[in-house]
């Protein structure tokens, strides 16, 4: 299967503006169409390692980003996103096209792939054990994820932890890491070698930029892993790194609160969540310096079960 980097920027733009590309991320194939240059630029910069699928085949999701055919094509221009031809999303300013694609693809997975227990959490892997990092926006989850993904951990996802009820494993869906506001500058300093998309200002989440996922994590996206740790991170100014164990009940409740479809899965959701808790140790983690956090994570030992 060719990767997206086999296309030049010009070829990529032409395909996107025409029939589209069939982009594989983890187990999902998205057919993507857009004549908006910002989308092609972002894909060209961040998605080079991802496989492209046969155009005559099958797509799980059909996404199109386009300029409206009314006044807003020219006056304070906007971009519309259509899922399978339907526009159920608020239009955004034209310059927000690439972040809009990222959010759109997240929406596709989290609202459609209901076979899996879907948790709003980052997830990474080391030595066959996954660490799940659920946290509300502003807790420093993506910053920590970015640091870990470039220091010995394999990125499975920055946003969506998918747990397969059949075996309890995490299904990787590695994508660019979404950084916000101050963490953009912080990561430029911390990971000078990593590729980052140009910041987009004044979005609903403030300024956002996307950090390229490490090639290794993209190539190994089919390798599933059982979760060994569930860690709720919290960045706090000047705090020493503190890892506090949680009881199983605390871990369960807090993890369920971060799930998108716990209720929808009914009894299967409970059983799947219970299996995660049985196999993983829960912690609260407070930190202020990324180097401290990397140290603590490097010393994590899988729970003795």
């Amino acid at each position: 299967m060719p990767s997206l980097s086999s296309l030049s920027r010009r070829e990529l733009g032409a395909q996107l503006a025409g029939d589209g590309i069939w982009l594989q991320t983890g187990r999902f194939v998205a057919r993507l169409q857009s004549a908006v240059p910002g989308v092609a630029d972002g894909l060209h910069l961040l998605y080079g390692d991802y496989p492209l699928r046969d155009s005559q085949g099958f797509a799980d999701f059909h996404l199109r980003l386009e300029r409206p055919k009314n006044l807003r094509r020219w006056f304070r221009p906007q971009v519309h996103m259509r899922y399978d031809g339907q526009a159920d999303f608020l239009p955004l300013p034209y310059g927000h096209a690439f972040p809009m694609f990222e959010w759109g693809l997240n929406w596709c997975v989290s609202s459609r792939a209901n076979r899996y227990l879907i948790i709003h959490a980052a997830v990474l892997e080391r030595d066959g054990h996954a660490v799940v990092l659920p946290a509300p926006p502003g807790s420093g989850k993506s910053t920590l994820t970015a640091a870990l993904a470039y220091h010995g951990w394999r990125l499975l996802s920055d946003e969506l932890t998918l747990i397969n009820p059949e075996d309890g494993h995490v299904l990787p869906c590695p994508r660019p890491i979404s950084l916000k506001n101050a963490s953009i500058g912080l990561m430029r300093g911390f990971l000078p070698q990593a590729v980052m998309s140009p910041p987009v200002h004044n979005t609903e989440k403030g300024t956002v930029a996307h950090l390229k996922a490490p090639a290794d994590s993209v190539l190994r996206a089919h390798e599933t892993v059982p979760p060994a740790w569930v860690i709720f991170p919290k960045w706090q100014a000047d705090a020493p790194p503190t890892l506090t164990p949680l009881t199983r009940a605390q871990t369960f409740i807090q993890l369920a609160e971060n799930a998108f479809n716990y209720d929808l899965l009914g009894a299967r959701g409970f059983d799947t969540m219970a299996a995660v808790i049985d196999g993983a140790q829960g912690y609260q983690f407070t930190y202020s310096r990324l180097d401290d956090a990397l140290d603590v994570f490097a010393r994590l030992a899988p729970p003795a079960l």
Binding site: G57, F58, D60, D84, G85, N114, R115, D263, L264, L265
Partner: protein, 361 residues
């Protein structure tokens, strides 16, 4: 329309589904989502033991749909139990309509169906008692606007929809199956008198088999919103396949349609189910229902409208006339619902006065 949409082919010849290409499946799955029948497609494939012969990508999508549909079923069962508890002291048989009836009675359309609310029918004289009991158990009225209250209570066949304050689930309490202001008024006493208990349930009832089909038909062909048009036609298809095997069903159905003044919607239901989904309808039933067919010009018009509106709202299933067809059927439904003067007044109020009142609030 030149090509038959894949979603219709799927119901006509389900046995041919395993030979579809992946590209065809891609389109068929999208059509089934737009038509609200994806989980129903899964059920049909399972009933025919075809699921294992499908590509893994396709089975994956159908499993996604299964989760949602199972949750809906669980939710409806729970909701019906809560409604039965709330109405226990009203001394009425609890008669379920539409989706909730299919589910609780285990009828074929229930499997894989999604729900938006639970519908029940009670005697008109019991409405205050039923409404009060539901409110005591946590259901609250919607549509607080005075005009809307009057619209429902004076003219419609149901209370303003009620929503449970904690679960946010909706119930429609009907006292008839068509508005008071419609020119056709199937006698609700006859419908309730013929209701049958659901075996093994504690006091739950459905309408009689013929009346279930007729209500499904009148709901689809007198209503103005066709978002769920295909799903409702598939309901009729599966009901007819199921009840049609019972001896004496077809003559009873066409006779009952005449008795309840519903021969015209039954004609449409049989015509379009047979035409679009190839539902097996005996010739005698088609002939009997044809007595209620409209004149040739009107029929040509209705064909043009329904053949478009009954397809899923998907770009691959429409042509340039589809939006106009849906709009015409919306107007027609209002026309059927009220006499012309009342309708004019209603539309005037909705267009000019309601927005102003909203602004003032």
């Amino acid at each position: 329309m030149t090509l038959t949409p894949l979603i219709l082919q799927a119901y006509r010849q389900p046995a041919s589904l395993p030979s579809l290409s992946l590209a065809d499946w891609d389109l068929l799955l999208r059509q089934s989502v737009a038509g609200y029948v994806q989980a129903g497609l899964l059920v049909m494939l399972e009933e025919l033991d075809l699921l294992q012969r499908l590509p893994a990508e396709v089975r994956e999508h159908l499993e996604w749909a299964r989760t949602l549909s199972e949750r809906h079923h669980q939710g409806v069962r729970y909701e019906v139990a809560m409604i039965a508890r709330a109405l226990a002291d009203c001394g009425l048989p609890l008669i379920l309509l539409k989706g909730a009836a299919y589910t609780m009675a285990g009828l074929p359309p229930a499997r894989g169906r999604l729900y938006s609310d639970v519908d029940i029918i009670v005697p008109e004289a019991s409405l205050p008692d039923v409404e009060a009991s539901l409110m005591m158990h946590g259901w609250a009225a919607t549509h607080h606007d005075a005009y809307d209250q009057r619209y429902y209570r004076a003219w419609m066949h149901e209370l303003p929809p009620m929503v449970h304050v904690l679960r946010h689930t909706a119930i429609d309490v009907h006292h008839a199956i068509l508005p008071r202001t419609a020119s056709v008024r199937p006698d609700p006493d006859k419908l309730r008198a013929a209701a049958v208990p659901i075996p093994g349930s504690d006091g739950l009832h459905t309408l009689a088999p013929t009346d279930i089909v007729l209500h499904s038909a009148v709901h689809l062909f007198y209503d103005g919103e066709f978002d769920h048009g295909l799903r409702d036609l598939v309901d009729i298809h599966r009901l007819l396949l199921h009840f049609g095997r019972q001896p004496g069903f077809w003559p009873a159905l066409t006779a009952r349609a005449v008795e309840l003044e519903l021969a015209r919607p039954l004609f449409y239901a049989l015509r379009y189910a047979a035409e679009l989904l190839h539902t097996p309808v005996p010739d005698e039933a088609l002939q009997a229902s044809a007595a209620a067919r409209p004149g040739p010009l009107l029929l040509r018009l209705m064909d043009a409208l329904f053949r478009r509106a009954l397809l899923p709202m998907h770009p691959s299933c429409g042509d340039a006339w589809t939006p106009a067809a849906r709009f015409c059927l919306y107007l027609r439904a209002n026309w059927l619902r009220m006499p012309p003067l009342l309708l004019a007044r209603h539309l005037f109020h909705k267009a000019f006065l309601s927005p102003k009142e909203d602004k003032q609030q």
